[in-house]
């Protein structure tokens, strides 16, 4: 299989999103904003006004806190950018996607195919995973400017809403599609076929733990 590379706008057309295939490598152009639990709680639970025009300015929500500092003169020094694990945000994402029109959810580890089918696909959204997940320096190079940092006084630097202008920012991997398929579940299913052989010569612990399952095909998220 040859890996396909795609340049994608952060305000993508429906056709561009529909064209993405699991495992495609994507580089992004345009505005991206970071939003994780702090932003979700503030916008959705405390009903604060979102300080951007969404999705017209950006339909790309990055689950990320950058390694960055706000200087005393108000300017920014942003070094490396890396995603944080997305499954923890499933509680807020359905409402967030519906409210903001986000088409690209970018993060680490992806969501379950159930999440994709229930609220990604109906909203025309897909999941992009960062690579590695440690390609922070490469992604940092793709940041042309920091346009704004919202709510940093209320939420702190790590949880604030960073608005960054991306130029060929990447690589990202397409981890869901508009059929609601999940790249990680596909890979897990392939790997699970081999696990019985690997586990030969081992035995379960003599003392069990509550809630313990021995089914290694289980997903750990979702």
């Amino acid at each position: 299989m040859k890996i396909r590379e795609v340049i994608l706008s952060t305000t993508p057309t429906a056709e561009a999103v529909a064209d993405l295939r699991l495992g495609d490598i994507v580089y992004l152009d345009g505005l991206i904003y970071t939003a994780r639990e702090g932003v979700y709680m503030r916008a959705l639970e405390q009903k604060a006004n979102i300080p951007m025009e969404l999705p017209s300015q950006s339909a790309a929500n990055f689950h990320c806190s950058p390694a960055a500092v706000i200087r005393e003169d108000g300017s920014f020094d942003l070094g490396a950018v890396t995603a944080t694990a997305s499954f923890r945000f499933a509680k807020w994402l359905p409402e967030w996607i519906a409210k903001t029109g986000a088409r690209l959810i970018i993060g680490k580890g992806g969501m379950s195919s159930k999440d994709y089918k229930e609220y990604f696909v109906p909203n025309g959204a897909v999941y992009l995973s960062t690579v590695g997940y440690g390609t922070g320096a490469l992604l940092g190079r793709g940041v042309e400017t920091v346009e704004a940092v919202h709510w940093h006084e209320e939420l702190g630097i790590a949880q604030a809403m960073w608005v960054i202008r991306a130029r060929r920012m990447g690589p990202f991997i397409v981890a869901s599609n508009l059929d609601g398929e999940c790249l990680f579940e596909r890979e897990n299913a392939k790997i699970a076929e081999n696990l019985d052989r690997v586990y030969e010569g081992t035995k379960p612990a003599v003392l069990k733990r509550y809630g313990e399952t021995d089914d290694r095909s289980d997903e750990v998220i979702g």
């Binding site: 995973s129 690579v131 922070g136 190079r141």
Partner: protein, 318 residues
């Protein structure tokens, strides 16, 4: 007497090096892994990681946006003296951590567990951790900083002698598979295993095995060293690679450390030091010399001593 200003300036340099420069032993290990990898996606990931380390060094920017939780290990020769004593030392390390958070910059990861208060400088209650070790001779101190990722890849289990090696393998595989799915552990990683001690010291042993030993190092006990080889091989036979994609490389190396435990138990912990295996070390001498390296060289014969009294001659003979 080692000047406190030298400690602080060296500590700042170490913070910078740890965040930006991947240690050579891990880089060599990852390159060797990349050469054997044939899964399409996992090969792509490893190549991107190798590009990323280059970009970090060229641009002098942190290799990963999650710059982990900076912490310190301080090892002292028995004759080392520090200007201002240990309180001054700890203040210098806290200042260096805060300063580097702004100057590199690092992500201000450290928050209060309940109130989520963020001082934006990676300093707070119990942060950064500062742990100590001692060696029988020398006037030097070693400053070691490690910026380990914080969330996935670590687990503990109380096993028993009847679980045996089969039970140890089982828990090892369980940990790798569970945290390896979707790449949550950011593998391929240096895996550390702690065996024995008590629950807390077992965690410490395993963590130190992953972060304070290098790729290619082996336990001084030849039977444990053989287990390390076997467990590396076992982890890489799972069929899982980077990001949990189909692949051949989960484990860049497996390091095992042991401590004597309760006669009825066999505590076990597993730790994954991620793709950004960030560590930096310097030895400081009273005459102002500073020698930088990336091998913490923590597990010396003295650290693994078994006898009541320290007798290097007897230890060497065993």
């Amino acid at each position: 007497m080692i000047p406190i200003s030298l400690i602080e300036s060296t500590a700042q340099t170490l913070m910078d090096k740890a965040a930006i420069e991947i240690p050579q032993d891990y880089l060599d290990g990852l390159k060797a892994a990349a050469a054997t990898e044939d899964g399409d996606l996992s090969s792509f990931v490893l190549k991107a990681m190798l590009d990323n380390y280059e970009a970090a060094k060229e641009d002098r920017r942190a290799m990963c946006g999650d710059t982990g939780v900076p912490r310190w290990f301080v090892k002292l020769g028995n004759d080392a003296r520090i200007e201002g004593g240990f309180v001054a030392l700890e203040a210098a390390l806290r200042r260096a951590t805060a300063h580097a958070t702004a100057s590199v910059p690092l992500r201000p990861n450290r928050v209060h567990p309940l109130w989520r208060t963020d001082h934006n400088n990676n300093v707070g209650i119990g942060a950064p951790e500062i742990e100590y070790g001692f060696e029988p001779e020398g006037e030097w101190i070693d400053l070691i900083t490690v910026h380990k990722g914080g969330l996935f890849g670590t687990d503990y289990r109380m096993l028993f002698p009847s679980d045996g090696i089969e039970g140890i393998k089982r828990f090892y595989l369980d940990s790798l598979v569970a945290f390896g799915k979707r790449g949550l552990a950011c593998q391929p990683a240096i895996i550390g295993i702690g065996l024995g001690g008590s629950k807390d010291t077992c965690m410490v042993l395993g963590k130190r095995a992953s972060i304070l030993r290098t790729v290619g190092s082996r336990n001084a006990d030849p039977k444990i060293a053989a287990m390390e080889d076997e467990f590396k091989e076992l982890g890489n036979s799972i069929g899982m690679g980077a990001m949990g994609f189909v692949g051949k490389n989960m484990v860049i190396d497996c390091n095992i450390e042991v401590g004597y435990c309760h006669t009825g138990g066999m505590q076990m912990s597993v730790h994954a030091f991620c793709l950004s295996s960030r560590r930096a070390v310097a030895r400081l001498f009273p005459d102002g010399r500073v020698e930088h390296r990336t091998d913490p060289d923590w597990f010396t014969p003295y650290q693994r001593r078994e006898t009541v009294e320290w007798d290097p001659v007897q230890e060497a003979a065993e």
